[in-house]
């Protein structure tokens, strides 16, 4: 037995410790430097004035103009429809895209997989609001532009999470179905689909939840729903109406959170 004392073991080597400290130091230096650049062009008079301004807008917002509420029901219904139909459309397109993008199910790793990944990245890199802006210009203002914008944005989100779920399926279950002499389509529906159903549902409901929030503002660019009303109220500086809209959006989001939590609980 060689002589070993308790002081021989350390969590990190001295070199490792030195680099760690240098790393932290560099981060702090970077923060200070960035802070200086950011504050260079700040007009501090405005910043010191901010609490007063906030109070001013706050006082104009209250009390909320509840009489405005009935008028908002139709746009709210539109917003829910945009979110729901857009999610359904997005999911329907995302499912085949995900199967093309997943390494273990793609029919062609050299051609189709990159195309599918490109679709996913394109969809994800453009915000719903920008999609809506483009679509309003192309097909004109209205609900349809909103629905398509939401669907296009959802393809990437759902496609990405779903293809990751497909790649994480248990290969043994797939192997077992293959070994029975099942055709490739049957391997897909028996070996893979049951394994990804919980993921598919929870991803879709999660996206629907996000889409309700996003569709509430699409009207700002003319794609229908609550955003249209918000735009109108903002334009006439009717802050008490804006507050009613914000409260309504908050309530809707809370309800959709609750619904998606229930659905997730039911399927897992």
């Amino acid at each position: 037995m060689t002589n070993i004392s308790s002081s021989d073991w350390t969590y990190r080597t001295p070199k490792h410790r030195l680099f760690l400290w240098l790393g932290w130091f560099a981060l702090v230096a970077l923060f200070v430097w960035c802070w200086r650049i950011m504050s260079q062009d700040t007009i501090w008079a405005f910043v010191w004035d901010a609490p007063a301004q906030a109070l001013d807008i706050g006082s104009r917002m209250t009390p909320p103009e509840w009489g405005y509420l009935p008028e908002l029901m139709k746009p709210l219904w539109d917003t829910l429809n945009i979110a729901t139909l857009g999610t359904i459309g997005g999911v329907l397109i995302a499912i085949p895209v995900a199967f093309l993008a997943a390494r273990n199910t793609t029919p062609s790793a050299t051609i189709l997989r990159p195309i599918a990944l490109f679709i996913i990245v394109t969809s994800r890199s453009i915000n719903s609001l920008i999609w809506a802006l483009l679509l309003v210009a192309i097909i004109g203002p209205g609900l349809l532009a909103g629905i398509i914008a939401i669907a296009l944005r959802s393809i990437g989100f759902v496609g990405k999470l779903l293809y990751e779920a497909i790649e994480e399926t248990d290969p043994r279950q797939i192997e077992a179905i293959t070994a029975t002499g099942a055709a490739p389509t049957q391997v897909l529906t028996y070996g893979i689909v049951p394994q990804i159903m919980p993921a598919l549902w929870s991803i879709s409901v999660f996206r629907w939840d996000i889409n309700i929030r996003e569709s509430a503002i699409l009207g700002l660019v003319g794609a229908g729903g609550l955003g249209l009303k918000m735009n109108a109220s903002l334009a006439i500086l009717a802050w008490d109406q804006v507050l009613v809209i914000l409260i309504l959006i908050l309530a809707t989001v809370v309800v959709s959170e609750w619904v998606s939590a229930q659905v997730r609980k039911a399927i897992i």
Binding site: Q173, E175, I177, T180, G181, A182, P194, Q195
Partner: protein, 271 residues
């Protein structure tokens, strides 16, 4: 019934898993395939139904060479080969009944399988098999609600649902406790005897193999180094298969799990 001729497999990484394995399996014969981890046991049985593509050699099932078949002909022949897996490999989120019926996938059309519209006689047979393996009352449970031993029974029923001419069994008891292991092995041997069904069983546990198998094939580094009756497994043969080790049962060996062959006689384990 099954004849392997010069079967070899070299993986893309350059690892040779099997080299020149030849084997002749008679109808109704139970073969225990033993050998250390990495000896190529799993590769061997997967090369038979081409879940792993053999690099060279022939696999004759009856009068068909499986190696030469096209994908669709292979699917057709795979129906004749039932397979049972170490971790059961059931589709966890489907019911027991759906899992058993999935043994018929090679026989039914896509739409029938998608809509679960199996032939009444298949459904009848699935119930009979579930009854045979003692799980009739669990038919509508989800597979992941069952215990390990029960799941392996479902795995056996699924394989039999194919009405196979051959069973490939990959470590059927590796995830089970000693008692359940023996029950599963007994069920397997009974079923094979009832149907005069040959089976190749990968098995880690040498005493279990000796107790239930009619013939033992020892694999080492992808080669067959022993082929004979279970009582021919002498100390010298075990050393030939697994390498040098003290093969006498030792009661105080804590590493028994890592070195499976040191496990004392089964009766002692159960005691």
């Amino acid at each position: 019934m099954l004849k392997l001729n010069g079967l070899s497999k070299t993986y893309k990484t350059g690892d040779t898993a099997l080299s020149d394995v030849s084997l002749d399996v008679q109808k109704g014969q139970l073969i225990g395939l033993i050998g250390p981890s990495g000896a190529g046991k799993s590769t061997l049985i997967r090369c038979i139904n081409r879940l792993v593509e053999p690099s060279s050699g022939e696999v004759w099932l009856g009068d068909v060479d499986l190696v030469k078949l096209s994908r669709s002909e292979l699917r057709h022949q795979r129906r004749r080969i039932g397979m049972i897996f170490q971790e059961y490999a059931l589709v966890e989120r489907l019911t027991v009944m759906e899992n058993v019926l999935s043994g018929r996938l090679g026989y039914v059309s896509f739409w029938r399988s998608w809509l679960r519209r199996y032939e009444p006689r298949d459904i009848q047979r699935a119930y009979e098999l579930l009854d045979r393996v003692g799980l009739l009352q669990h038919a509508d449970k989800r597979a992941d609600a069952l215990s390990g031993g029960q799941r392996q029974r479902v795995g056996i029923a699924r394989a039999l649902m194919q009405d196979p001419d051959l069973l490939l069994v990959d470590e059927p008891t590796a995830s089970l406790d000693p008692k359940t292991s023996r029950q599963i092995m007994r069920l397997l041997t009974e079923i094979c005897a009832e149907r005069d069904l040959p089976a190749i069983v990968n098995i880690h546990d040498v005493p279990l193999a000796q107790a239930f198998m009619q013939r033992i094939v020892g694999l080492r580094a992808g080669r067959v180094v022993f082929d004979g009756a279970p009582d021919g497994l002498s100390e010298a043969v075990l050393t030939e298969i697994y390498g040098a080790e003290d093969w006498n049962p030792v009661g105080n060996d804590d590493d028994a799990d890592d070195t499976p062959v040191v496990v004392p006689k089964v009766a002692e384990v159960l005691a």
